[in-house]
Amino acid sequence: MTKIEIKDLHVNIGEKEILKGFNLTVNGGEVHALMGPNGTGKSTLAYALMGHPRYEVIKGDILLDGESIMEMSVDERARRGLFLAFQYPVAIPGVTLANFLRSALNAKAKALNPEDKGISLVNFRRLLRSKMDLLKMDYAFGARYLNDGFSGGEKKRAEVLQMAMLEPRIAILDETDSGLDIDALRIVADGVHQLQSDTLGVILITHYQRMLEYMQPQFVHIMYGGAIVESGGAELALKLEEQGYDWIRDKYPDTRKTG
């Protein structure tokens, strides 16, 4: 059973402490929405989970299925089933989305079994097309250079396509719904919804209620000042929709906004 446990996580960027004792456990089959004002450390959490070298964990632990991933490289974490859908994915000019995905799939398969010869082109194409159908993407998309000249909506869709292809066990979606118009949001949210399974745990970083309507998270957390300050169910998100974050600021006056 998939399980990630984030325990008392403190993370610095440079000299500045951004995460200040973050705790969360996510099991397979669960969707956790992570909300909160800008600058409270949501993206920092995403990057720290993935192991970005500039995000220094100064205290705490992250366990994936009971095993600490703190000493693992970024790529090893990915091969173990961690996935981050980036808010701002970078472009890799000259590398087609399809080539990239095939390499990523093969890297993962090879890590599991060094004898693995990789996925055949025929099978890969079949798989890719089935996932593109899921996200209502034009097949020609696969021949475009990764994120190079993609519109905001295309980038987000490409992120979800990668998630669909790589079949992670824990996925962190960092504002995958931001910058999308209503139609694109529906397609992306619908796509992610279809990927939900008992073996996938999702951490959904979002500002918007709409994404939650599709994903129907069992848990909603409010992050403020580098830690979770409130947890609840769908009603918590509705409260935020109606009242904004002012009541959080009032309730936790001592928690200074960070990074």
């Binding site: 970024v74 790529d75 990915a78 980036f86 994915p89 890799i92 000019p93 590398v95 250079y145 990764l146």
Partner: protein, 471 residues
Amino acid sequence: MSDQKNQDFLNELGADYQYGFSDPDIASFRPEKGLTREIVKQISAFKEEPEWMLNLRLKAYEHYINRPMPGWGPDLSDLDLDNIYYYVRPPEVNQKSWDDVPDTIKNTFDKLGIPEAEQKFLAGVGAQYDSEMVYHSIQENLEKQGVVFLSIENGLKEYPELFREHFGTVVPYQDNKFSALNTAVWSGGSFVYVPKGVKVDLPLQAYFRLNNPNLGQFERSLIIADEGSQVHYVEGCTAPIYSEDSLHSGVIEIVVKKNARVRYSTIQNWSTNVYNLVTQRAVVYENGTMEWVDANLGSKVTMKYPSCYLRGEGAHGEVLSVAFAGPGQVQDAGSKMIHFVPNTSSKITSKSISRGNGRSSYRGLVRVANNVDKANSSVVCDALLLDPESGSDTYPTIDIRSSDVNIGHEASVSRIGEEQLFYLNSRGLTDEEATTMIVSGFIEPLVKELPMEYAIEMNRLIQLQMIGSVG
């Protein structure tokens, strides 16, 4: 990366990429090291050449002896020109059929995968083994169309007038020290003639291979594309590894007549002890198009500036080049575009990658002659540095002697970004896989211009170059 890991990687790529092999020395004639007038005469005599060629060789020899080493560009002070064999001939020459090729030579070709490649889609093969053509075949439909694809020696024998009319006109021996040297001692290379209006669909391909230590290889090719014709010539080079420095100094001359179109593609992968000093030039007449596609991966020092002399209105010249300088390598590559007449256009796209303490430079010249109006030229140079030790330089010279011209120049230098690496890592790719992918993407504009098998080879060579590139 450990030697064992290296070896595993090579095994994985296939035995054809283990360039360390070297066949027993089967060369039948080898003069002394160094170059004398007598050796030039011997070479000419061996080839049973007409007197004009002997005289030209001797004049070129005199010029070579008297001409100083180039005073610009990369350091050539370690190049000992007296410690090189200037002519080596294998025992069998110019086999027409694969069955006639000696087994040792065949084994080498097997390792390079040539027969297989030929079966698939080679239009014609001229493979250079040491200094002579040993194997040459051309498909029947080409012969029927009147396309000539011969060793340079047979070109001289069989088409003496056509040969003499063009040889040395595009790159005269006085051009530079190494064109003089090549003219004095040239041996091997291709002679291509495409008649008027004939379009050769499949690329003509030649493989070059050095197999002797200290062997100077001085191939000379002459390609003539008559009016309205089209041809793509592909040259791929590999060389086994030796400890002593070797010299490769080729001259390629191309004549692109009215409305003709020629593309010349090179993948240069000399072992990293070879000095690769090459002169490649095309003369382009009215509405003709010349395209150089040039990849320089190997060698110790490469100096190579494929050029187009645009001599007819509407002529277009293009260079797409990639240079990869690994540890200890210097790639000094670029292009020359000379606009002699109005309404001519040129385009240079140069991409360089440097790693270790490798150094790759773009050295280019765009010249628009006096009173030449409506010339267009664009130059784009992109350099990618893989680590702090590597370097890149740009030496663009733009010499415009006319007012009504449109010239653009852009240059960029980038490093592989932490964010790009992180992004690819986050999808499960190791640093090395991620870096290789970024590099492959960087050179993709060139690779996609290559015939498929070369594109695959190019990607494998890049993978090889990247071994051990990361921590």
